[in-house]
């Protein structure tokens, strides 16, 4: 029956085409109405909308739009501004903080935000079952560390935590040691409040659009993985009058070229970190904002001469003179200006400057003659006898160029031979944590504008140390500073600790990190700052999008 067979064949062909047509047409129907007032590339998908699970800036930008903490960062200088807390007071010993909450603060379902909400949320962040990675930033609170470390079942006792609701609008936090930057820490995305009723009603699904209840300047309208998040101004936010943007799109595009294309065609108004390779082409553009970041790029030296397995192997890098020679041989200015470019500046301290009353300690300027002398004194004149060592770095374009330049300078100035090892970021972390390197590229960016967040990395037991550096004098200075309530005396102790670090040189600081942002001229309220934090709450646009 050929006719019947033909009909079947026709159907077999037509059906997929029909489905395809329906698919394409459904695109039009599912589309969000137009472009948002303000759109930006958020670099990747948000890993979670739950503030407690915040892991990076991409998460934080959105969490800070949906929720508001006791404090919030000033868009100009990151200093803590009143958020849900209208004001706060610190006891004279610096150990007790009392926050007065504003009565107009509301959740997006209209219910008031109370001190009890913060007791619940902060205890939740600290709870072992939440497994919040930033929980340790609040271990300055009485009982907090034991709380997080207790077994998750049956769960620790909240009443032993130093977080107390003294009334519906009054919250007290008791500390183990003075923590001058507590108000800044509480503005971090991890410590934004969540609504207990919402979490208990919807369980794991509480973060879905339509269910999420927040207290921030925006509410969540739609979330499409790998595409965008749509936010809308919240009518219940206490400061809704101060929020200029009606709708915001956060695009998930990850490709750097794609992001740049979206910016150049006006599809987005803000692109974060344009590609370093392009900074030459972009230099001089009025919409490229470059500024200093509260972060340092440095080199780690492996003081153990091998894996951190409890057994030190005396190698050349265990000799302070060799490390000093390697540090002094590098022309930091050239590394910053000629290799990294894009507004990078050399740094001669580990802690970036700009945080009075703290004055960073200083590493002497590059001095190849002195470097050669030190190397010869250590028994390796002209680099002879020095084994070829590895220079480990995560695999990307800018660290590759950077490490090649470092290796070239060492070869030229000292006759030192290196082998460059580039690894995928996760593998690089693993290698540097386990001591499977000789010299490794490293970087640190502060969570808040506080010197201790830098110096704590190199305490003997710190998991961020990764050099094998263990110095009792250094540890004692940092510990003494932590107990010191007087800001000037504290700064002095910290500076002595940093000087100790720069004398011993487990690391060689090289370059201060930079913020690079492409911001459309129609955007207002965008300020470059050390933490590269730009709350959506405070942005505005002056003319309609292209």
């Amino acid at each position: 029956m050929p006719a019947r067979r033909d009909r079947w064949r026709g159907l077999a062909l037509a059906l997929p085409l029909l489905l395809l047509l329906l698919g394409v047409l459904s695109l039009g129907a599912a589309t969000l109405p137009g472009r948002a007032d303000f759109a930006f590339c958020n670099q990747s998908d948000v890993s979670s909308l739950d503030p407690a699970l915040s892991t990076g800036q991409s998460d934080g930008r959105i969490q800070a739009a949906l929720f508001e903490g006791l404090t919030r960062p000033d868009p100009q200088d990151c200093a803590p501004l009143p958020g849900v807390a209208e004001s706060w007071q610190v006891s004279s010993d610096g150990l007790s903080w009392t926050f007065a909450l504003r009565s107009q603060a509301r959740w997006s379902d209209g219910t008031p935000v109370t001190a009890q909400d913060f007791v619940y949320s902060l205890a939740r962040v600290l709870h072992p079952a939440t497994a919040a990675r930033n929980a340790s930033l609040l271990w300055c609170i009485v009982g907090a560390e034991a709380f997080t470390r207790s077994p998750p079942e049956p769960g620790p006792d909240t009443s032993r935590l130093g977080i107390v609701a003294e009334g519906p609008l009054r919250l007290r936090i008791d500390l183990l040691r003075p923590t001058p930057d507590l108000a800044s820490r509480l503005a971090l995305p991890s410590f934004l409040p969540v609504q207990r009723a919402c979490l208990e009603r919807d369980g794991e699904a509480w973060v879905k659009p339509g269910r999420l209840v927040g207290n921030g300047p925006f509410v969540l309208v739609e979330r499409r993985l790998r595409d965008r998040l749509r936010l809308q101004r919240s009518p219940t936010y206490w400061g809704a009058d101060e929020v200029a943007l009606e709708t915001v799109d956060a695009l998930s595009a990850t490709g750097i070229t794609t992001q740049l294309n979206l910016y150049l065609t006006g599809e987005v108004d803000w692109m974060i970190k344009p590609p370093p390779g392009l900074s030459r082409a972009l230099e001089g553009r009025p919409d490229l904002l470059a500024g200093r970041q509260f972060g340092t790029t440095f080199l780690r030296f492996n003081l153990w001469g091998g894996p951190f397995d409890g057994q030190r192997r005396p190698g050349p890098l265990a000799d302070r003179r060799v490390r000093a020679a390697l540090a002094l041989a590098l022309d930091r200015t050239s590394l910053a200006h000629d290799v990294l470019r894009g507004g990078h500046e050399p740094i001669d301290s580990y802690v970036p400057a700009g945080l009075p009353p703290y004055v960073p300690a200083r590493l002497p300027p590059a001095d190849p003659d002195e470097a050669r002398r030190l190397l010869a004194e250590a028994g390796y004149p002209g680099g002879s006898g020095l084994p070829r060592f590895s220079l480990l770095a995560p695999h990307n374009e800018s660290t590759r160029d950077f490490c090649e330049a470092v290796a070239a300078q060492w070869r030229a100035e000292l006759g030192v031979q290196t082998e460059l090892v580039h690894q995928v970021f996760g593998v690089y972390l693993d290698s540097s944590t386990r001591g499977l390197y000789d010299v490794a590229w490293g970087a640190w960016i502060g969570d808040t504008l506080d010197v201790t967040s830098f110096l704590e990395c190199f305490l003997s037991g710190s998991g961020n140390n990764r050099t094998g550096f263990a110095d009792a004098a250094y540890d004692a200075l940092v510990a003494a500073a932590a107990e010191q309530p007087d800001p000037a005396l504290r700064a002095d102790l910290l500076q002595r600790a940093e000087q100790r670090l720069l004398d011993e040189l487990p690391i060689a600081p090289l370059v201060q990190r930079v913020n690079l942002n492409l911001v459309a001229p129609r955007v207002r309220g965008f300020h470059d700052n050390l933490l590269d934090v730009h709350p959506l709450r405070d942005l505005a646009v002056v003319e309609p999008a292209r």
Partner: protein
């Protein structure tokens, strides 16, 4: 009956392939140093232990693997995503698979829609300048990888002449450039294959008969020559579907299309174990079933193969 037996055999093979692929991806992911919770900052061991407990990563790898397999088989649950923590792998796939399929289908349509007419045109004008032009363009198309083509298309149709959106997803217009970038290299292959197939058939006696009846040249090609000449094209569609799927990794990235491709790359780089394994499983399933469909189509087109009744 014959067809059904072979179908059952292919299904059994598919299950075996899926098992091997899932084991390999699961175990290989674990063998890479660095884990899903590493981000450059030291994580306190207590917090890390809580995270691992929460995601069942504290058990021995063998036990984890058995649990993973049984969850898939019994509940069709591919596990949680370790980096997209508000989503399960099933949810990620439910959002991204239709997008990838849509893009792939459009690309296939572009490949066939451009490839077949171009091949027919070249065959009909064999040896003339049009043939040379079409085959020259096809060679160029074959040698240009999708990502170069994508950049070129963006440069021309989003910047030079701003007719189409540069990236993103949401309207049919957003699909044009990605589908062309993805489909064009395959159109080139199809044009060459179809031309060769047609030239072979056009020499046959029954074609001469058709011409002798007085049928115009294009009708001879469309009605008589095309069906047997399509066979090599159809058998090429299997690899083409696989190629389009793997090519979409790059194209989805370039055009910010929310499909599965970017999830595959990112989950592998970020040690998102369950998501990576899940995406690999779905890709395997797609490629295998694509090949199966092609084989079935083959039988429909050529009555000499398959069921004699």
């Amino acid at each position: 009956m014959n067809l059904l037996t072979r179908l059952a055999g292919r299904m059994a093979l598919l299950v075996a392939i899926l098992l091997v692929v899932s084991s390999a991806s699961f175990l290989l992911m674990r063998a890479v140093p660095g884990g899903p919770f590493d981000d450059g900052r030291h994580l306190d061991p207590a917090i890390r232990a809580s995270l691992q407990r929460r995601y069942g990563l504290d058990a021995p790898v063998g036990e984890q693997y058995l649990r993973y397999l049984s969850d898939i088989v019994l509940r069709f649950d591919l596990g949680p995503s370790l980096r997209l923590r508000d989503y399960s792998v099933n949810e990620v796939l439910a959002e991204s698979l239709p997008v990838s399929l849509l893009l792939g289908a459009c690309a296939l349509l572009v490949a066939l829609g451009i490839g077949l007419p171009a091949g027919a045109l070249a065959a009909a004008r064999r040896g003339r300048w049009l043939d040379t032009c079409v085959m020259g363009a096809a060679t160029l198309g074959l040698s240009l990888p999708s990502f170069v083509l994508a950049g070129l298309l963006v440069l021309l149709f989003a910047f030079r002449w701003p007719w189409l959106p540069v990236a993103g997803f949401g309207t049919p217009a957003h699909l044009v450039l990605p589908a062309v970038a993805l489909g064009l290299p395959f159109a080139a292959s199809i044009a060459r294959l179809f031309r060769t197939g047609l030239l072979e058939v056009l020499g046959e006696d029954w074609i001469r008969t058709a011409r002798a009846k007085g049928l115009p040249g294009w009708l001879v090609i469309v009605r008589h020559a095309s069906r047997p000449a399509l066979l090599p094209v159809v058998s090429y569609l299997g690899p083409a579907v696989a190629g389009i799927l793997s090519g979409s990794l790059v194209v989805e990235q370039v055009f910010a299309i929310p499909g599965m491709g970017s999830h595959l790359v990112d989950s592998a780089l970020n040690a998102d174990y369950y998501l990576a394994s899940g995406v690999v499983l779905v890709y395997t399933l797609l490629v295998c079933s694509g090949n199966l469909v092609v084989d079935l189509t083959y039988e429909l087109l050529d009555p000499r193969l398959g069921d004699p009744a």
